[in-house]
């Protein structure tokens, strides 16, 4: 190669650099991004960017290890470095579905740009020329046919191997997945688009299909497009279909779950089609990180709650994504990885490590034991001695629903009678559907009855046995309220009609009398004249 052509190549390389590329290799000690990083990022990502900060061991996925320069969310081809804009985007908006928050509001433009440069300085790979984003076209118009095609291609490309037939991350390969640091990693639950790591616009999803998510098992499909195994348009269809599996907007969280009054029978079971007509309320759950053993890596991050009553009994349906029906031997490998990857979190005098055997999946409903108002609700995490809670537990083991009293985190004293809760559940395609039913009134006066027209506090807890959960390990909600609606009485419809009729009748009388009086007066006047 002549020196001239070498220079030309070098020039060409420079020309492909994005304008304003941020220098990677400033001396870290004096880098302007260092103080920002040390203050805001190092606690998770580690002083030297190896993803090994103090908080890291409890997190799955682990905080990014910048020393290997492997970035999930990119606009560049599989295995390529990210662009500066790619890194900045993640700093700005965070990584949904993980512990990484967005920093656009906290840090100035200058600080965030400095951070990009500093992160790059952790890996010599950034000495390479900056890669160019892959070029992508416009999203084609959607519609029902597009979604049907997307579903067909989703199956053809065997996306279900990891993401499951219905997209809930319950594919047959899901229990075996690990990231590049050999930590267990979930196949994304495609029905919760608000947890998509790289955003949930159709174009975001399409980009993930084209670029893959480096460091994870998710591959790039660009080669498959190049090899004409799938067309670019079909890949867009898959993205549109995947997006359609989630609600258009992230579910709004509402404090009060209303149980409508229904005429006729309550739904017969969790799969009863009558439930499809009942309003569903989304309750977000988070890992139980208050009492030891704390749990930072829960499987379940939300539950959909529906309720109806018929004046005598109330039926609730609870639905949540869980890729395993625990215990399931196929998930033993997963539990082994969780045990290896999550440190024990011992309480005083206890050596609490993640159990070696899978327990069942378990749902717990929690109510105050005694009537209460907002200012005196029991402690949200299992109540206290002074203000106990009434606990209702359903588990996948097939045992009957249990009721008990809780007087603190993790406590459960079985009740002989209880409030008459009964129910059952079924698991299909990565989702539990559980129906629990009880009489509104209770015979045991120490337990709370439910009265139409009165809201009662309720909280939720879930455990996924195959994830090593059970006891205090699992996910919990704070207090919400359940409100059995008062039926609209017949008089509400009759009274306005009666009132209108009465008013009209009265009007006729009044006007009639006035007219008669007027006529009488005229007669008198004419007689006088």
């Amino acid at each position: 190669m002549s020196s001239a052509s070498r220079a030309a190549v070098a020039l060409a390389a420079i020309a492909t650099l994005p304008a304003g590329a941020i220098a990677a290799q400033a001396a870290p000690a004096s880098h302007p991004g260092k103080p920002v990083y040390d203050r805001w990022c190092a606690a998770c990502h580690g002083d030297r960017g190896a993803g090994d900060g103090e908080g890291a061991a409890h997190m799955l996925p682990r905080p990014r290890d910048f020393t290997r320069a492997i970035y999930q969310i990119r606009t560049t081809a599989s295995g390529e470095l990210p662009t500066d804009a790619d890194i900045l985007r993640v700093i700005d908006v965070g990584v949904p579905g993980t512990a990484m928050p967005g920093w656009r509001e906290q840090l100035t433009d200058r600080q965030r740009a400095d951070l990009v440069g500093y992160l790059k300085s952790f890996s010599p790979d950034f000495e390479r020329a900056a890669p160019a984003p892959i070029s992508i076209g416009e999203e084609p118009a959607g519609g029902a046919d597009a979604l049907a095609e997307g579903k067909r291609v989703y199956d053809q490309l065997e996306c279900f191997k990891c993401h499951g037939r219905e997209g809930r991350g319950d594919g047959t390969s899901a229990p075996t997945l690990a990231d590049d640091w050999d930590q267990p990693i979930r196949a994304a639950d495609l029905t919760e688009s608000w947890t998509f790591n790289g955003g949930d616009a159709v174009a975001d999803i399409y980009l993930r299909l084209r670029t893959g998510l480096d460091g994870t098992p998710m591959p790039s499909f660009s080669d498959a497009v190049e090899a004409k195994i799938v067309t670019d348009e079909q890949l867009w269809r898959v993205a549109q279909y995947v997006r359609s599996l989630s609600p258009e907007r992230p579910p709004r969280v509402r404090e009060v779950i209303r149980a409508a009054r229904v005429e006729g029978a309550l739904p017969a079971g969790p799969a009863d089609t009558a439930w499809s007509a009942v309003e569903a309320y989304y309750v977000p759950l988070v890992g139980q990180v208050v009492a030891r053993p704390r749990w930072f890596v829960p499987t379940v991050d939300g539950i959909w709650v529906q309720a109806v009553h018929d004046g005598r009994s109330i039926a609730m349906r609870l639905a949540w994504s869980d890729p395993s029906r625990s215990p399931d031997p196929a998930w033993d490998e997963w539990l082994g990885r969780i045990r290896a990857g999550v440190p024990a979190d011992p309480g005083p005098g206890r050596a609490d490590s993640v159990p070696a055997a899978q327990g069942p999946d378990r749902l717990t409903l929690q109510f105050p034991q005694r009537p209460t108002d907002d200012s005196e609700r029991p402690y949200f995490l299992g109540g206290s001695r002074r203000r106990p809670v009434h606990l209702v537990r359903w588990s996948s083991g097939g045992a009957a629903v249990e009721e008990g009293l809780g007087t603190g985190p993790g406590s459960f004293a079985p009740l002989a009678g209880g409030t008459g809760f009964a129910g059952g559940g079924e698991w299909r395609d990565g989702r539990w559907l559980v129906q629990l039913t009880r009489p509104l009134a209770v015979r045991d006066s120490t337990l709370p009855g439910l009265t139409p027209g009165t809201a009662v506090p309720i909280a939720f807890a879930l455990a996924d046995g195959s994830n090593g959960e059970g006891g205090l390990r699992g996910s919990v909600s704070t207090w919400y309220a359940i409100h059995p609606d008062v039926p609209t009485p017949t008089r509400v419809y009759v009274q306005p009609v009666v009132a209108a009729l009465l008013a009209a009748g009265l009007g006729v009388v009044v006007v009639g009398r006035a007219q008669r009086r007027q006529r009488g007066e005229r007669r008198l006047t004419s007689e006088e004249s």
Binding site: V9, T16, R68, P217, M218, P219, S220, S222, D223, A224
Partner: protein, 265 residues
């Protein structure tokens, strides 16, 4: 594709094919970097083999080889059907005391600054019956690896290197071919399939062509060496490494027989 091309250009530069290049590949985008780190100096004119010496040998295994784990392929009947008996993961393959799938390569001793010819012939890595074939391979930096899917099921081929950049490519269709290469020396680059967690292969990426993989009879042969004294290493995914020092006379041959043993023996 672009990656392979870039690497190819780098290797051509590394091999110092100054005269032959003649701008044939010029005009293509290139990184503008210096030749791959650690590559032999680029100003040596030679592109021919450095010599005609040979190292041959046999990799043996003494003791009882470990049992290879069976694989539950119930979820992939199309792959399962390709196996006459219950599929096993062939981690340690021993026949008559001879070990297959050991990667043998010259670890040190090449003349400093020697310009070695680039390797442009693709090495094929197949996915057949939901197993890699071969499961151990050695390539030169920049040498294309043609990855084939001979199964009617989804595979993804994922490289998890420490030095090179990785990749993770979906191959959703039987017959699909993907070509990739690595531009830096690295022993070893693990390859894996996320869909089928049991699938593993390893690639040795070297800056020279003096490498081989032991066959079913344990033998290997490394050719084209100049006279000299070399450290030869045999690497096996489960058994670790063995090294030997050999002296190759001008246009002659040397023998490097290496032996692994069952753990504990």
């Amino acid at each position: 594709m672009k990656r392979a091309l870039l690497s190819g250009i780098l290797v051509i530069g590394a091999a110092g094919v100054v005269a032959a290049c003649g701008g044939g590949d010029g005009g293509e985008a290139a990184s503008g970097d210096a030749p791959a780190a650690g590559a032999p100096a680029s100003d040596a004119p030679a592109a021919a083999p450095l010599g005609s010496g040979t190292i041959t040998g046999t990799i043996s295994f003494t003791g009882t080889p470990p049992q290879n784990p069976t694989i539950d392929m119930a979820e992939e009947p199309d792959c399962k059907a390709k196996h006459a008996s219950a599929p096993v993961d062939p981690q340690v393959v021993v026949a008559n005391g001879k070990l297959a799938n050991a990667i043998v390569y010259v670890k040190s001793g090449l003349p400093a600054g020697a310009a070695v010819p680039a390797a442009t012939t693709p090495v094929v890595l197949d996915q057949d019956g939901c197993l890699y074939e071969p499961r151990a391979l050695a390539v030169m930096t920049g040498q294309p690896i043609e990855i084939r899917n001979s199964d009617p099921v989804l595979h993804n081929i994922k490289a998890v290197p420490k030095v090179n950049r990785g990749f993770n490519v979906s191959q959703p269709s039987q017959g699909m071919k993907t070509t990739r290469s690595f531009d830096k020396a690295e022993t070893m680059v693990p390859l894996e399939c996320s869909v089928h967690g049991w699938m593993h292969a390893n690639v040795a990426v070297l800056e020279h062509p003096y490498h081989a993989v032991s066959g079913p009879d344990g033998t290997f042969s490394i050719t084209g060496l100049p006279a000299g004294t070399y450290e030869v290493e045999a690497w096996h995914e489960k058994l670790g490494t063995r090294t030997a020092q050999v002296t190759v006379p001008e246009a002659g041959s040397a023998t490097a027989d290496l032996s692994f043993a069952a753990s504990g023996s």
